[in-house]
């Protein structure tokens, strides 16, 4: 069966079993991954999959399934199990309905490049280019990963929505090392080869690694900082996920009861623009069939809206935002998809000058919250960390951690630079277009012993 037939089967079967609403999303993926370390390919991986995702409701009872077994028998028996179980459930709190279609969808421009899935040579060439570029910039060894994906997404709902879209995506992470303590990362993420820059990603990684050589132990304290695109991408992913109404419901949001309030500096603007041409996370419709549109989340520091699916919109008495996406064992929940930060007027150099004395932190990993509700968290600074003295890059440091509060960080944004970069990598799930940030009074700690 092809994706259309699978989607049709799901909706027909759901209706036959007595479901009030059914949605079928079938994702076909043709994905290649080239992983490398110590300048050498370590493994090549490939996936050819068809994954049906099923949502169905019986009045205020909701259920769903991901079926990586796209046979009619597996789909039918799974749906019978779903309905059998959901009939025994006590009702949920809201009798939400899928949005009534049909809808017209705007196709996303510039998000498909046939060469992404057809040319292994271009992919191996990109890996070679990135390694050479990092080495030429001063690296001693280079690791990384290149992922090339061609995807097709087919939608059917029992409420008349029907859609099909396709896209491609290239994601490259390059991590360059001068020694174990001195590393740098560069990334490139784009929907086509035209905007893909393995050379620049390698160069960025190599240059940071070289500058980070021979770091001294950092000192804990409260710093004016410039935070690079990679670390801000990670932190702002947590902010965007916090605007999901599902996160608010389960206590995993630091934006609870804050719609309409100032949650960030007036210099900060965050939009989820799923209609953006060539957006790595752009989609014409969500998994409930609702058409997407640009959604301003934070404007001039004010939280404008939470993100909603049909269930949370009904529960919160809010408008649909087109963010109902399948999310593992949580079913369809509101999720951001293609984040954009409005750039400022500064160059990176001017941002350093504006900072004066402080720290430049390029990347991070392992962000964890002590309290999602308050936003108290810490994250490890990774790759190049530098002192900034009198507006100039100074010596590299190591061993530091940001131990702060996300609301305080958002409110302490003083300036944003103008050059933009798409970031999506192992620590950043939701692609985000952003630049460098000047953030005041960032709390930095380190091991006491």
């Amino acid at each position: 069966m092809n994706s259309d037939e699978i989607a049709e089967l799901i909706v027909t079967q759901g209706e036959k079993l007595g479901a009030s609403d059914v949605s079928a999303i079938v994702v076909e993926e043709n994905k290649r991954m080239l992983r490398f370390s110590n300048n050498s390919i370590t493994v090549l991986q490939a996936w050819n999959t068809i994954t049906p995702m099923i949502y169905l409701s019986l009045g205020p009872k909701r259920t769903g399934s991901i079926v990586e077994d796209p046979t009619p028998e597996a789909i039918t028996s799974t749906m019978e199990s779903l309905v059998k179980t959901v009939r025994l459930m006590k009702p949920g709190d809201v009798d939400s309905r899928l949005p009534q279609g049909p809808f017209g969808y705007h196709s996303i421009q510039d998000n498909y490049d046939p060469r992404v899935s057809s040319s292994t040579d271009k992919l191996t060439g990109a890996v070679e280019t990135s390694i050479n570029s990092a080495m030429n910039a001063g690296a001693k060894r280079v690791s990384g990963v290149l992922v090339a994906t061609e995807w097709n997404r087919t939608l059917r709902t029992s409420t008349g929505s029907k859609g099909r879209e396709k896209g491609t995506l290239l994601e490259l992470t390059v991590r360059a090392f001068v020694d174990a303590d001195s590393s740098g990362q560069g990334v490139s993420c784009s929907t086509t080869f035209q905007d893909f820059s393995p050379e620049l990603a390698g160069k960025e990684a190599g240059e940071i690694a070289k500058l980070a050589a021979n770091p001294v132990e950092g000192t804990e304290g409260i710093y004016r900082t410039v935070l690079g695109p990679s670390i801000m991408a990670n932190l702002l992913n947590t902010a965007a996920v916090s605007t999901s109404a599902h996160a608010v419901e389960v206590g995993m949001s630091y934006f609870t009861d804050k719609v309409g309030q100032n949650v960030a500096s007036d210099k900060f603007n965050l939009t989820d623009d799923q209609q953006l041409p060539a957006g790595p996370g752009s989609h014409a419709f969500d998994d409930e069939g609702f058409p997407t549109k640009p959604t301003p989340i934070i404007q001039n520091g004010t939280l404008k809206t939470l993100l909603h699916s049909s269930y949370t919109a009904k529960k919160f008495n809010a408008q649909l935002t087109g963010h109902g996406y399948y999310s593992g064992t949580s079913g369809i929940v509101p999720s951001p998809s293609n984040l954009i930060v409005k750039p400022g007027d500064y160059s990176k150099k001017e941002l350093f000058e504006e900072l004066g004395d402080g720290l430049y932190i390029t990347n991070n990993w392992y962000t964890r919250f002590q309290n999602y509700n308050t936003g108290d968290f810490s994250t490890i600074c990774r790759d190049g960390i530098f002192r900034i003295s009198k507006g100039e890059l100074s010596n590299p440091v190591k061993g530091l951690r940001i131990s702060d509060n996300m609301l305080r960080i958002l409110q302490s944004i003083e300036a944003v630079s103008k050059e933009l970069l798409w970031v999506k990598w192992w620590e950043v799930d939701i692609p985000i277009l952003l630049s460098h940030f000047l953030v005041d009074k960032v709390r930095v700690t380190k091991s006491r012993k």
């Binding site: 991986q45 909701r62 490890i380």
Partner: protein
């Protein structure tokens, strides 16, 4: 269906591969959720397919498909072969696999009471019973958010390789995860997540007494909110509870002693390690510290008998009386380091390559009674559980922020302490251990590693331990 695996191996060898393996794997998981007392969605995840790994001119290729037809698996083998073949020129360090014994066997962990035979109503009733025990009149604290999920799954694998190994394995797993937010006027909020999981059936649920366990956690949140005071800033002695010791052993012993990290294979993702290949025999802690990883622990969440390269599993001693003694190895790293695999390769789905993973990592017990750990502590802090934690990507600088924690005064547990922060290096931490209790406890967790990410079921655990002369961290407000 198992014929398809044989077809894959034959086809791969015909194409010219020096090694081929096929793994048909199915994972079926049922998840029941209660959100703030109301049933959330019931989810059924069904994942079935074949993963193929192939070695061509020292280049490793992996491909997978969920289309289990002869044509599809042919295509997958060709895809894995062609990718590996066409990229061989970029391989500077050819992959080799350590020679290992061939095995033909079948193993199964049987559930005494299959969750499939328990009605969905009973499973939801378990969640409602927990919810009833979270009534503010019972736990003496408001819980504005409560998210509780119960899951059971069955994982089944059929592994074949071109060396003649054929292994069929089957494991049931069952788990509960909850996330609570507690609030008191004027005291703010505290949050707690926790999971309980085993490789068993419904009989585990009948033993766990989950309503009591979850409500006790809620009561603790109320007590810490009500009575919690700021932690001391001076140099003090610490006692760490089993939950904290478990995460420490996982993060700063298990991960840095994964040989793939040591050799740099995970550098662009989960990072490398402060441990170098020549550090076997290096002292990293006191003689009280022995840390092992054991996939064969009965009932454990990370249980398996044979790994996903067909190697028999057994206990691995990672730190022996304070000295680094072994790394976790798969066949690739074992060949590089001229040793044998110790059965550490696991894949969480048909679509994932096998890679080095921990199973059940814990510190071995010592000879102290619980009370003896506190006896000579005049001024200290007892950190029983944690919420926030992280560690750098070389596994050297780590942080654990306590949730249930108490002052220790004159050998006695005293008032609750709010958010004590232990921020410390790995050698300082293991080098400060001077007492280890007799009893060991375990917690279930999902360990993240790999690209694409693979969340592997594990147990973390250990006894309670005493640490000497450490300073709690955190900046003054």
């Amino acid at each position: 269906m198992e014929d398809l695996a044989d077809i894959v191996v034959r086809k791969g060898l015909q194409l010219g591969a020096s090694y081929v393996e096929a793994r048909i794997q199915s994972d079926i998981e049922n998840t029941y959720s209660l959100k703030n007392g109301v049933p959330d969605t019931f989810q059924l995840s069904r994942t079935v397919g074949i993963g193929v790994r192939i070695l061509v001119n020292g280049t490793l290729g992996f491909a997978s498909t969920d289309k289990l037809t002869k044509d599809s698996v042919y295509d997958v083998v060709k895809l894995a072969y062609n990718m590996a073949h066409s990229s061989s020129h970029l391989v500077k360090r050819p992959v080799r696999l350590s020679p290992e014994k061939t095995i033909q066997t079948s193993w199964e962990t049987k559930a005494a009471s299959s969750p499939e035979n328990v009605s969905p109503e009973e499973k939801f009733n378990l969640l409602f019973e927990i919810e009833r025990m979270l009534d503010p009149r019972e736990v003496h604290v408001d819980l504005p958010s409560r998210y509780i999920t119960f899951s059971h799954e069955t994982e089944e694998k059929f592994f074949v390789n071109s060396e003649g190994t054929k292994i069929h394995g089957k494991t049931p797993r069952i788990s509960l995860w909850f996330f609570l937010t507690a609030s008191k006027p004027g005291k703010g909020t505290l949050q707690r997540w926790m999971s309980v999981g085993e490789s068993r059936g419904w009989e585990a649920v009948e033993e766990w007494n989950l309503p009591k366990l979850v409500s006790n956690e809620a009561k603790v949140l109320g007590k810490v909110l009500d009575e919690g005071i700021a932690p001391p800033k001076d140099e003090i002695n610490l006692v760490l509870g089993s939950e904290v010791v478990g995460i420490i052993c996982h993060e700063s012993c298990g991960h840095p002693q994964e040989a793939d990290r040591i050799l740099g294979r995970e550098a662009a993702q989960a990072g490398e390690s402060y441990v170098k290949p020549d550090m076997i025999g290096t002292r990293i802690g006191t003689e009280h510290v022995t840390v092992v990883d054991d996939p064969t622990l009965s009932k454990s969440f990370g249980y398996y008998m044979y790994d996903d390269e067909g190697v028999e599993a057994h206990e691995r001693v990672l730190i022996d009386k304070g000295v680094i003694s072994n790394f976790l190895q798969n066949r690739e790293t074992a060949a590089d380091l001229e040793t044998k695999s110790n059965g550490s390769a696991r894949a969480v789905a048909y679509s994932r390559e096998p890679m080095i993973r921990m199973a059940n990592t814990y510190m071995k017990p010592g000879d102290y009674d619980h009370e003896e750990l506190f006896e000579d502590v005049n001024s200290g802090v007892y950190i029983k559980t944690f919420m926030e934690w992280n560690i750098d990507d070389r596994r050297f600088n780590q942080r654990y922020v306590g949730l249930e924690a108490y002052l220790i005064r004159n050998g006695e547990v005293d008032k609750p302490v709010r958010n004590p922060i232990l921020e410390v290096t790995t050698p300082s931490l293991y080098g400060s251990v001077d007492a280890v209790s007799k009893t060991v406890d375990f917690q279930s967790a999902t360990c993240g590693k790999g690209d694409p990410q693979q969340g592997a079921p594990v147990w973390t655990g250990g006894p309670e331990i005493g640490l000497r002369k450490l300073r709690l961290g955190g900046l003054d407000s």
